[in-house]
């Protein structure tokens, strides 16, 4: 019975010009978006590979020099692009692409793509995730808004009920009738994306499980929208009213809530301005050991402690170059300062994320948005991850160089130059994105809320269709 209703729905839709036209438009948009994304990512991937190789080359071809000078000279870490950013580029456009790694300073990732674009960049890009998150829910609304109202207006509802079909079976039939075309469309997109990703070289390793999970997330998102659409259609008296109510819901859920929650998050847990953040760090840095300043109180204390520890009278009696050692200790103090301030920043970010998670209770768009980005490794977490990895690489790099200075030269010997082989022996920056398990672990709340939406909307559908 359910199958018969579903087929009737699909047949009715197919006969309607509106349905065919919108399906064609959405398909064309999806293909266009995928094609544009593919081109963009190919070029970015190339740029990234070139820049990375170049940076390493420049690092390795340094002349013989004091290792600490090399630490000041520094190098760059470039954020890799992940295969699934083809489907969902997430916040990539709004986060920097590379971090300068140098002694004494933790730098922010710089050069966000949005800063190199006109103000129109803020309208969003035509990427697959835009179509999947915004346009397909609209498509669902357009297919389903009159699922019940049409039958009511034409009077066929009485006829159907007269055949003894239960309201719930009728609703399920209609549900399947809307779900199938959407499922076909989504599957098509993911299959195309899969084929493209397999065939594009150098796209990094693709985890098929993640692709599948992403597919499931979107399918659940659409199921929620189908439930909402059918609920509204069931309680509306006219098709027009049903359509307008659904559009209002769509605007609130997909447009207004994300923006409003952003404003709320920002006003409850504001980020410091870049300058204020830097000034606070500077202040804390000055309060402690400065590797370049042997005259400060902190440096003198440190000197005394070191002498006591090694039981010697003067710095030149130490088994290593105290300058290098002090520089490293200074570095460690600075690293702690950075760690503290970045931990605070991260805490602010976590609190902001909680605001979004709370808002997700009012909008199934939000958990889907965050899950999709997280799975594509293009969310803010992934960026933090990269930034943290770059920082720990920076610390180990500077540690290697400072300790080389401390071990290989004597106190007061500023003429020491490290061999060029040292630059080559320092490992290159490698970064592994968070594993699927990590992603799931961090996104429990989003998974839960989306699942809740799915269940609650189904129950709601069951209750509301009883009255039909």
């Amino acid at each position: 019975m359910i199958r018969r209703i579903a087929f009737k729905e699909m047949k009715e839709n197919l006969y309607e010009g509106r349905f065919r036209v919108t399906i064609i438009i959405v398909s064309v948009l999806l293909i266009m978006a995928t094609w544009l994304s593919l081109n963009y990512f190919k070029s970015v991937q190339q740029q990234h590979a070139d820049a990375k190789a170049n940076a390493r080359n420049i690092w390795e071809s340094q002349d013989e020099k004091n290792p600490h000078s090399a630490a000041h000279y520094g190098t760059y870490a470039f954020k890799p692009k992940y295969p699934l950013s083809l489907i969902d580029p997430g916040v990539d456009k709004f986060s920097g692409i590379s971090i300068f790694l140098e002694a004494h300073k933790r730098n922010e990732a710089q050069y966000m793509a949005a800063a190199d674009q006109t103000g129109l960049a803020r309208f969003g890009d035509l990427t697959p995730d835009f179509i999947m998150l915004f346009i397909i829910p609209l498509l669902i609304i357009l297919i389903g808004y009159n699922a019940f109202t049409r039958e009511q207006e034409l009077g066929t509802l009485k006829l159907l009920k007269g055949q003894g079909i239960s309201s719930w079976k009728l609703a399920l039939g209609k549900w399947v009738g809307i779900f199938l075309p959407v499922l076909i469309l989504t599957t098509g997109l993911f299959v195309i994306a899969f084929i493209l990703l397999v065939n594009v070289e150098d796209f990094g390793e693709l985890n098929y499980g993640v692709l599948l999970l992403m597919f499931v997330v979107y399918v659940i998102y659409y199921a929620v929208f189908i439930n909402i659409t059918l609920m509204v259609s069931a309680v509306s008296k006219q098709s027009g009213i049903s359509l307008v109510s659904l559009l209002v819901i769509w605007i609130v859920v997909c447009l207004a809530m994300p923006k409003a929650s952003s404003n709320l998050a920002d006003s409850i847990y504001p980020y410091p301005s870049r300058q204020a953040f830097a000034a606070d760090i500077d202040k804390d840095k000055k309060a402690g050991l400065d590797g370049h300043n042997p005259w400060s109180q902190a440096a003198k204390d440190f000197e005394r402690e070191t002498l006591e520890k090694y039981g010697v009278d003067s710095l030149s009696q130490l088994p290593f170059n105290f300058d290098g050692y002090r520089m490293q200790k200074g570095e460690e103090h600075e690293a702690q300062v950075y760690f503290k301030h970045y931990a605070e920043l991260k805490n602010t970010f976590r609190n902001q994320s909680k605001v979004y998670q709370a808002a997700a209770i009012a909008s199934p768009f939000l958990p889907t948005r965050f899950l999709s980005m997280a799975l594509a490794r293009t969310d803010y977490r992934a960026h933090w991850d990269f930034s943290d990895a770059a920082e720990s690489y920076r610390l180990s790099l500077v540690d290697t160089l400072n300790m080389n200075l401390a071990v290989n030269s004597t106190y007061g010997d500023w003429a020491y130059k490290a061999d060029r082989s040292l630059w080559k022996n320092v490992p290159d920056f490698e970064y592994d994105p968070p594993s699927l398990g990590d992603i799931i672990g961090r996104n429990w709340s989003n998974i839960l809320v989306l699942g809740l939406w799915f269940l609650v909307s189904f129950v709601g559908l069951k209750i509301l269709t009883q009255r039909v």
Partner: protein, 477 residues
């Protein structure tokens, strides 16, 4: 004798009140405008207080500097390392910095624009080059992606949807109920009746909106008379945009299809004009005038740096040849001269690369400016950002000003450093100050306002022509 139009107006109004449309409109618009203005105000206040506290920090530091200078000049020894001594001009030029701030425009509340991406003050120092300054603001990229719920969002995105919800069935409802035939049997043209009705609704919505905007903006502390021309442009743009959507709603109704069909069509237009066209235009601008890879820039900068350092010695000679006024002072440091000579070389070598970015961005902007006439949403966005002083151009202009200031700042200290002069307390008030110049001419908004109304007129004309042909399909089934 009362006119027909007054009957249409009166009963349209009564109907709207009884269907609770009027109440709903007032409620929803108040909520939306209030929330948006509060968000805008919070952002502007934050910006002001950031700048304020930066200025205070500078003033604090200055007063410590003055005390130090006092002691030094009085011959006392001060317990400060040499590289913190303010009597050294290079110390002044490096750590006693001025705030180069971009204070918000009067109407900055209206549109967030690019203000969440860019920072609003920097402190250029003598050593750094202005291109090395990071102008992007520290922010959660999720917020940048979602964008801000500002007045510009309410007016550009949501207002058309309110118009659509309000008027998608302005004619089709009467047609579906069978009232249209009764109306058409009277000596009044259906097109005129529709126009009168739409006009009534338009005036009602405009009235509510303008009243709300005036009250809420004034309440938020925006002076609408301060720059009356801007306020006027802002109102006309909004009202023109509103009119555009009303006329579009009427046109779609004249096609003589069902209410639900009309709603689908109108939503289709909304998606096209507000969502798809702007993002496609942006993507086309990017692919027509691609900005070169920033990753490449990073490496080029390093190569240039290394190259310049290698040549430092021979550079110095050239440099002193170009700047004879700086050469040969007793006590002046060759190290300094070498440093600045190197900096100059780096700057001159990297400038063409940097220019490439600015040129490409400018080309993108110019192209976007030319093509903006294809969607009223683009017209409004560019104008609102311009009126708020948060457009890409404003920030570009600001960066330009900072770049000029950083040269002024450095040139203020260079001769002193080279001559080995000391910085004294008397020189303190003579330090260069940064004053942000608001761009006076705003280029797009007036044209945009006209363009929006031209859009409306063309649509109206189309509608008039169309209505002559579509009568049959409207009145019979």
């Amino acid at each position: 004798m009362k006119k027909k139009s007054s009957y249409i107006n009166r009963y349209e109004f009564v109907s709207l009140v009884r269907q609770r449309w009027l109440q709903f409109l007032i409620l929803i618009l108040t909520a939306l405008v209030l929330f948006a203005v509060l968000n805008g105000k919070q952002r502007v206040d934050q910006r002001l207080s950031d700048i304020q506290s930066a200025q205070e920090t500078v003033a604090e530091k200055d007063s410590i500097g003055i005390i130090l200078l006092d002691s030094i000049e009085a011959g006392f020894t001060v317990d400060v390392p040499r590289w913190y001594m303010p009597d050294q001009p290079n110390v002044m030029g490096y750590s006693y910095l001025r705030v180069a701030a971009m204070p918000p425009d009067e109407m900055a509340i209206i549109a967030t624009g690019q203000s969440d991406i860019y920072t609003h003050y920097v402190k250029p120092n003598m050593y750094g080059e202005s291109f090395e300054l990071n102008y992007t603001e520290l922010s959660n990229p999720v917020q940048l992606m979602f964008g801000s719920f500002d007045l510009s969002f309410v007016l550009i995105y949501l207002l058309p949807l309110i118009v659509i919800a309000f008027s998608y069935n302005i004619l089709s409802q009467e047609r579906e109920q069978g009232i249209l035939q009764v109306i058409a049997s009277h000596p009044v043209s259906v097109f005129r009746w529709l126009l009168q009705k739409a006009l009534m609704r338009y005036l009602l919505l405009s009235g509510i909106l303008v009243a709300l905007l005036v009250v809420i903006l004034t309440f938020a502390g925006v002076s609408l008379v301060e720059d009356f021309e801007k306020s006027l442009t802002f109102s006309f743009l909004t009202l023109g945009y509103l009119l555009f959507w009303f006329i579009l709603a009427c046109l779609v109704n004249l096609r003589g299809q069902s209410s639900a069909n009309n709603a689908v069509w109108l939503i289709g237009w909304w998606i096209l004009l507000v969502l798809l066209v702007p993002s496609s235009v942006n993507q086309m601008a990017n692919s027509l005038y691609p900005v070169p890879s920033r990753a490449k820039l990073i490496n080029e900068l390093r190569v240039v740096n290394a190259h310049a350092e290698e040549k430092a010695d021979e550079l110095l000679e050239d440099y002193l040849r170009d700047h004879p006024e700086l050469a040969g002072f007793e006590g002046g440091s060759v190290g300094w001269q070498e440093y600045f000579a190197t900096q100059d070389l780096i700057k001159s070598e990297i400038q063409p690369v940097l220019d490439e970015y600015e040129i490409r961005l400018k080309q993108q902007q110019d192209w976007v400016d030319r093509i903006r006439f294809i969607s009223p949403a683009l017209l409004l966005q560019s104008s609102f950002n311009e009126i708020s002083g948060t457009s890409t151009r404003h920030y570009e202009h600001y960066r330009q000003q900072v770049s000029e200031f950083s040269v002024v700042w450095r040139d203020h200290f260079l001769p002193m450093i080279f001559r080995g002069e000391k910085f004294t307390k008397e020189m303190m008030p003579g330090l260069p100050e940064f004053k942000y110049q608001h761009p006076t001419a705003y280029r797009l908004s007036v044209t945009n306002t006209f363009a929006v109304f031209i859009f409306c007129s063309v649509l109206l004309l189309l509608g008039a022509l169309w209505s002559m042909q579509s009568k049959t399909s409207l009145l019979t089934h």
